[in-house]
Subunit: 199 residues, 4 copies
C-alpha cells in the first residue's frame, strides 16, 4: 500500500520531485554515486529523508531520473547543430562551432562529466539510457547532413565515427589529459578528417 511510488500530480509535488532529482544529480555528479548519501540529497533538496522514498523507489532511481532529465543537455551539445541544415561550404565552420560549444558546455561540469561516464560503464540502466541517447544523436547528425546535401554512402556509420571523433577530441581539450599534445593542431586535424570522410 504505502510502498507504492506516488506519481505527483499537484504542481507543488512535481516541483518537489524535480528538486530532489536536481539536487541529487548534482551531488552525485560532484562526489560520486557511492559517496553521496540520501540524507545529503534530501537536505540539499530541502525535504525530509522520508519523502524521498515516496517519490523514488531507491537511491538508484534518483540517478536514473537525473540522467533522463539532464543527460541531453549536458552530454550531447552536438544537438546544437543547425536543425535545418547548412550550406555545404560552411561545413568546417559548423564543425568548429559544434566543437567550441561542446567544449564550452563541458567546462561547466568537469567533475560531473567524469562521474556520469563512469556510471555509463558500471550501471546497466545508465548504460542503456546513455547509448540510446548517443544513437539518437548520431541519427540526428545524419539527418541534418542529408538536409545539407551531404549524403555519402554509409552515412550512419560515418556520422557515428564523427560523433566519436568529436567526443574524444573535446574530452581531451577540456581536460588536457596529456601535456605534450598540441590540441589546436588536433582540432584542425579532426575537422580535416571528418570533412574528408564525408566528401
Amino acid at each position: 500500500m504505502s510502498n507504492e511510488i506516488r506519481e505527483p500530480i499537484q504542481k507543488r509535488s512535481i516541483a518537489k520531485k524535480e528538486k530532489i532529482i536536481k539536487s541529487g544529480f548534482e551531488l552525485i555528479c560532484d562526489k560520486g554515486y557511492y559517496n553521496t548519501n540520501t540524507a545529503e540529497i534530501a537536505k540539499a533538496a530541502g525535504v525530509s529523508t522520508g519523502i524521498v522514498y515516496q517519490y523514488f523507489k531507491d537511491k538508484h532511481d534518483i540517478l536514473i531520473a537525473g540522467l533522463n532529465l539532464y543527460s541531453d543537455s549536458v552530454f550531447f551539445p552536438i544537438l546544437a547543430i543547425p536543425e535545418n541544415g547548412f550550406d555545404k561550404k560552411d561545413f568546417r565552420k559548423v564543425l568548429n562551432d559544434i566543437i567550441s560549444k561542446f567544449i564550452e558546455d563541458h567546462k561547466l561540469s568537469k567533475q560531473a562529466h567524469e562521474e556520469i561516464i563512469a556510471m555509463v560503464h558500471s550501471d546497466k540502466e545508465v548504460s542503456k539510457l546513455f547509448y540510446e541517447a548517443e544513437m539518437e544523436m548520431t541519427n540526428k547528425l545524419a539527418e541534418v547532413l542529408i538536409k545539407s546535401s551531404i549524403e555519402p554512402e554509409n552515412i550512419k556509420e560515418k556520422a557515428h565515427i564523427a560523433v566519436h571523433l568529436i567526443d574524444d577530441l573535446c574530452h581531451e581539450v577540456v581536460y588536457h589529459k596529456h601535456d605534450d599534445m598540441n590540441y589546436d593542431e588536433m582540432v584542425t586535424l579532426v575537422i580535416d578528417l571528418i570533412v574528408k570522410m564525408f566528401e
Copy 2:
C-alpha cells in the same frame, strides 16, 4: 608502526600476494569496486581477511595493484603492433590485425573492461595510471610508424587520434552497442580514415 606493508620475498608469499590481486581484481571487475568486500576477496584468494592487510594498505590498494598487473595486457593490445616496423603497403593489413587482436582480447573480459573504464573516470589514482599507459601507447605507435617510414607532420597528434578511433571502434564492435550499425563497414571506414590521415 605495525602498519607497515610487507613486501613478500619468499616464493610462496609472492604467489599469495598475486593470488589476492588476481582474485580481488576479478571480483572487482565482475561486481564493481563498491560491491566487492574484503571478506570476499580474501575468501576468493583462499586467505584470511587479516593477511590481506599485511600485503595491502587498504582495499583501494588492491585495485591499483590489479591495474598495474593487468591493465597493459587487457587494455592496450595495440602494443601488439610489429615492434620493428612494417612495409608501408601492409599498413591496412597491420591495422586490421591490431583491431582483430584488440577485439579478441576484449571479448575475454567484457565485464572487466567496463568496470575499469568506470574507475578511470571516478578515481584519481586509477585515472593517472590509465592515462599514462594511453600516452605510452600513443608514443609507441608513433615510433613504429616512423620506423616504417610513415612520418607525416603532427605525427603524435595523429597517432593519438588513430588510437582513439581504434579504441572506440573496438568498444562498439565488442559490445555491439547499437543494433542498427554495420560494424564490418565501420571497420573498413576507420581503417580508410587512418590510412588517409597518415598519407
Copy 3:
C-alpha cells in the same frame, strides 16, 4: 555533510541522549573505556547502534559527555562547603563534614572513580576537563574561606594543597589502600594540618 550531530530538541530525544550518556558512562566506569563497545552501550541504552552516532561524534564523545554531566557531583563534593562561609571556630567541623560527605559519595562508585582517574591521565580532553574543574574547586574554597574571614597569605596555593590533602585522604579511606594504616587518626592529622596551615 550528513555527519552532523543532531542536537535533540524534543523531550523524548533529550531523554534518549541522556540515556545513552548515562548507560555509556556507567559501562565505561564499570569495565573501562577500551573494554566497552558501542554495541553494548546502545543495548544498555535500549537503542540501536546507529542512533548513538546521531547524537555523538564517536565513542570518545560519549565519555566526554558523561564526564560533563557527572564529574561535578562525583568528583568534587568539596563543593558541598557552605557557600556563604562559616564561623571560624567551626573550621574543624566544616572540614570534617566535607571529608565525611566526600567519602560517602565516593563509596557509591568505587569502580567508576578509579576508571575516570585513569582517563584523566591518558586522555587529553578528559584531562583538560578534570583540571579545570579542580581549579574551580580550589577557587571556590579560597572564596569561601575569605568569606569566613580566613585570609592568610598565598591563600590560593594553600587552598590547593588543602584540596589535595583532602582528596588523597578520601581516596585512601574509601578504598582502604593500605591495611596497616589508622585512617581515623589520619583524618584528624590532615584536619590538624589544614587548620594549622590557614592560621
Copy 4:
C-alpha cells in the same frame, strides 16, 4: 607442552627477555597500553612476535614485568633519602633535595608517568603492585626519620601524608597544571607543613 612460559636460564635469553620488557614498557608508557601492539613491541625489542609469547603469557604480562622492573626508580625517587638518616636541623634541606630530585626524574618521562598512573587506576594487578611499592616507600621514610631522631606519634600516618604531599606537589610542578599558581611558593609551603607536622 609448548604453551608453557619458559623461564630463561642462559644469559642471552635473559638479556632478550629484558629487552622485551624494556622496549614494551617504554612503548606502553609513550603511547598507552591499548595503543601499543605486540608487533611493535617485538620489533622494538628486535625479536619476532612469536618469541614474545615464549617469555610472556600475554601482552598484559609484559606490562606487569615492566612495572616490577622500573616502577621503583621511576616513581619513587623519595627512596633517594639518605639511608642512614640525617641531622635534624637539615630536615628542610633534605626535603628540598628529595623534591628537586623527584622533579628532575619526572621530567624525564612526562608521558610515561601519566600513563602508568592511569593504569594504576584501571588494572587490578598494576594497582596492587603500585600500592605495595607506595607502602614500602612510606615505611622507608618512617624508618629513616627514626634514625634521624624524628619520632613523633603516628609516624607512619604522618610519613604517608608527607609522601602524598610531596607526590602531589611534584606532579603539579612538573606539569604545571594550573597557570595561575605560584609553585615556588607552594614548595616552601609544603616543606613548612611537613616540618611542622613532624615537630
